[in-house]
């Protein structure tokens, strides 16, 4: 058996496949590493938390273990007003931090140094929780945004911030994105405007530093509906969204978007149970022209999934 073709073959396969992995994996990883987190990138990772989708903290993928984004119009400690209001990202004790807080190199050059030195993110401790904000600074003559650990810098406590803001200023962004993933919105909607004319319609595509620390990105590949990356910039009406999610045909008769009424859960905002059967028969009557007005859409409960979903759409997709 002089020439052993399988030996040669196995080596050649290993070599060629290895070479192709070097080009397609090692090559780009250098480019990825140089990505400097933008404000959008920092906002995304801080509001989404460590990971969306199946994980230790959220095995059932229902949005457990996520931080809460809070819209603050005044400092919870000093009472000084913020105009315009700022976003604070509240991690209650035990909630896992977003990847950039522990793996600082993910933030990119400049952002990392400022976040560590000025923002003191190294002092954040999961067992006590922390509150983060985003600030602007200068690094080597370049303007960059960086993370501030307000718990270490200003002594803000998570519970205190949540209380000072009140429920109407809480945004359950992390839970909302979880619902975007589990409900499969991304099988119809993309989060990535295409090149060309798409930009005029759906807005600019993301920058390199816009998704540092985000997992999963869920760009979507297969679009049968408008791109959502900047949807809240086109349409920021919670009332419209409420009707549209309950039954898209209420506001857009030709839509093929499914009804997401089941995301309302059992009760509405006043604790009254929602009678879906009646709603559907009233709606059918409306469609058949037997009544002039469609039935009223129930107002979502505070802890309902659709509220979190709208929080994410209206807060993150700008």
């Amino acid at each position: 058996m002089g020439f052993q073709q399988y030996r040669f073959g196995a080596a050649a396969i290993g070599l060629m496949f290895g070479f192709s992995m070097c080009i397609t994996l090692l090559g780009p990883s250098n480019d990825f590493r140089s990505g400097v987190s933008t404000w959008v990138g920092l906002d995304k990772q801080l509001s989404l938390g460590r990971v969306i989708g199946f994980s230790y903290e959220d095995p059932l993928v229902i949005g457990d273990g996520k931080p809460v984004t809070v819209i603050l119009d005044k400092d919870p400690k000093t009472g000084a007003t913020y105009d315009p209001p700022i976003r604070a990202y509240v991690y209650e004790p035990g909630i896992k931090f977003s990847p950039g807080v522990n793996h600082n190199e993910l933030l990119g050059p400049g952002v990392m140094e400022l976040s560590l030195n000025t923002g003191k993110i190294g002092q954040a401790d999961m067992s006590n929780g922390a509150v983060f904000t985003i600030a602007q600074g200068e690094f080597n003559g370049e303007e960059v945004d960086y993370i501030v650990n307000q718990t270490a810098v200003s002594g803000w406590q998570p519970g205190q911030v949540l209380k000072a803001a009140g429920d109407e200023n809480h945004r359950y962004v992390g839970k909302g994105k979880t619902i975007f993933i589990t409900e499969g919105c991304w099988w119809c909607h993309t989060l990535l405007p295409e090149q060309t004319q798409d930009w005029q319609f759906f807005g600019a595509p993301p920058f390199l530093g816009d998704m540092n620390g985000e997992m999963p990105t869920a760009f979507g590949s297969d679009r049968k509906a408008p791109d959502l990356l900047h949807v809240a910039a086109r349409n920021s009406s919670r009332e419209w969204m409420t009707m549209h999610f309950f039954n898209p045909r209420l506001v857009q008769p030709n839509s093929i978007m499914p009804r997401f009424d089941y995301l309302w859960g059992k009760t509405d905002i006043n604790g009254k149970s929602i009678d879906y059967k009646k709603w559907r028969s009233d709606y059918t009557a409306y469609v058949n022209g037997q009544s002039i007005y469609p039935p009223e859409v129930p107002e979502p409960a505070r802890d309902s999934e659709v509220r979190a979903l709208m929080d994410w759409v209206l807060t993150s997709l700008r």
Binding site: G53, I181, E183, M215, P216, G220, P258, R259, Y262
Partner: protein, 469 residues
């Protein structure tokens, strides 16, 4: 019966058992997968059809369809062909029938579990690698590794001198698929984030198609066509050109799936060029098989397995012409993210690949069961339902995609595109449902073959016998 064999001694298990279990599992998943596809298509055509239940929402069902057909039907059909072709080509018997049966068992259990979790919404949220990482590990170490060991050991224990091209593909593709699964799921295992995650998602998606679904399907044709026609393969050397070109070119253009993402420009250009080079293995394969048919073209009409097989090869022509060019920058921006791509995906999987596997499953089950197909009429019915349904699907989605592309340039409000696409959505549903119906017929036909098909005498092939019925 499976349970009995799982704990039997290897020598006591009749040869071919693994093939049979794999074969019927694959057809079963084919029926399930296309049934789900048809359900999804109905939901896109008639959005108010089944509403109000979370589990039957489109977003919960779509990925179940995709993975049921890819990992259930196509990959199990691959497993089946590996179980009977690898030993036949090495002039030996399968290294371990028992390991083969365990593979089928683990595969069915793991896949069912993964799909049920996905269905409930327990997902990783990454397209094509939707399965959560514990299930991915089951796939890699519980399914692919034992399958690989069986194939590699069978090849090592062959009693022929050379290794036939089909076995080259089998051995290499299982190995590469394991690597692809490991690397592709590393974002979930090691919490990689951001663009790295996005890129690895499509690195995985691309390589699963390019290093598993299309090459193994082609490898199958390298066996079935010479076997059925009795002609030797036109050129083993062109076969090798195909094999090596796949490894060199097909493993690289992953980023052509993300042309509008902020990936490095050099990577996108590189991907575009490499993507066109995929035409080399593609043309080599198609030419090789069609030239092998020389003098036997009547079998394309007369013999059901050849009919399936050659249809698959012919569908590879438009597939590769689309694939090679639609990923260049000049064309990609127009078709990307539209129904065109859905049409293309089904041309690859439902068209080219599934036809080749269907031929191999027809042929393999008859030879291993040593029974002739129960009913040729039903098989022909399956073929025509399949091909007509597929063409309706493909053409309607291609048109829908072109409408979406035009909608992009002319900046019409998106809802007008949705309205314009609607008739094609209904056509797609009708076509897909035909494919599903054909598959139900197939399952029945194969079941009856196992029970009542005419016994094939030793030394003969099923397709050589005349029908008595």
């Amino acid at each position: 019966m499976l349970m009995k064999y799982l704990f039997a001694k290897n020598d006591e298990i009749p040869a071919g058992s693994a093939t049979i279990f794999f074969g019927f599992s694959s057809i079963f998943w084919f029926v399930v997968g296309t049934g789900l596809g048809s359900f999804n298509a109905a939901k896109l055509a008639f959005p108010d059809w089944v509403t109000g239940t979370e589990l039957f929402a489109f977003g919960h069902m779509r990925q179940v369809h995709v993975l049921a057909v890819i990992l259930g039907w196509i990959s199990m059909a691959f497993g089946m062909t590996m179980m009977y072709m690898t030993p036949a080509l090495g002039n030996t018997k399968l290294w371990s029938e028992k390991l083969g049966l365990w593979t089928v068992f683990m595969w069915n259990v793991g896949l069912s579990l993964g799909l049920i979790l996905l269905w409930m919404g327990i997902t990783a949220g990454r397209e094509y690698s939707d399965l959560i990482w514990p299930i991915d590990l089951v796939v890699i170490f519980g399914v692919l590794l034992p399958l690989g060991i069986n194939v590699w050991m069978t090849i090592a224990h062959r009693r022929t001198q050379g290794i036939y091209i089909t076995n080259w593909f089998f051995g290499a593709c299982i190995f590469m698929l394991m690597i692809v699964f490991l690397v592709g799921n590393s974002p979930e295992l090691f919490n990689l984030t951001g663009l790295t995650e996005a890129y690895l998602t499509f690195w995985f998606a691309h390589n699963v198609l390019g290093l598993w679904i299309t090459p193994v399907a082609a490898a199958i044709a390298y066996y079935t066509i010479p076997k059925l026609t009795g002609n030797p393969l036109y050129s083993h050397r062109i076969g090798h050109l195909h094999f090596w070109a796949i490894i060199a070119f097909y493993s690289t253009p992953a980023s052509h799936h993300l042309m509008s993402a902020p990936l490095p420009e050099w990577l996108k250009s590189f991907a575009s060029v490499e993507g066109v080079l995929i035409l080399i293995p593609a043309v080599a394969f198609v030419a090789n098989i069609l030239l092998t048919m020389k003098g036997k073209w009547s079998m394309f009409v007369e013999n059901i397995e050849t009919k399936f097989s050659i249809t698959g090869v012919l569908l590879a022509i438009p597939l590769n012409m689309q694939g090679g060019f639609q990923q260049t920058r000049a064309i990609n921006w127009y078709v990307h993210g539209t129904g065109w791509i859905v049409a293309h995906a089904h041309l690859a999987l439902l068209g080219m690949s599934s036809f080749l596997e269907a031929a191999a499953v027809y042929f393999g089950l008859q030879s291993v069961l040593r029974r002739k197909l129960y009913s040729l009429t039903l098989a022909n019915l399956h073929y025509w339902f399949f091909i007509i349904g597929f063409c309706i699907y493909w053409i309607s989605m291609t048109i829908a995609g072109l409408i979406q592309g035009a909608g992009k340039i002319y900046e019409v409000p998106y809802i007008d595109v949705v309205v314009a696409e609607h008739p094609y959505m209904i056509a797609r549903w009708a076509g897909g449902t035909m494919v599903f119906t054909g598959n139900v017929i197939w399952l029945y036909n194969m079941w009856m073959t196992a029970r009542e098909g005419t016994i094939v005498p030793a030394g003969r092939y099923a397709h050589e016998l005349a029908y008595e019925r």
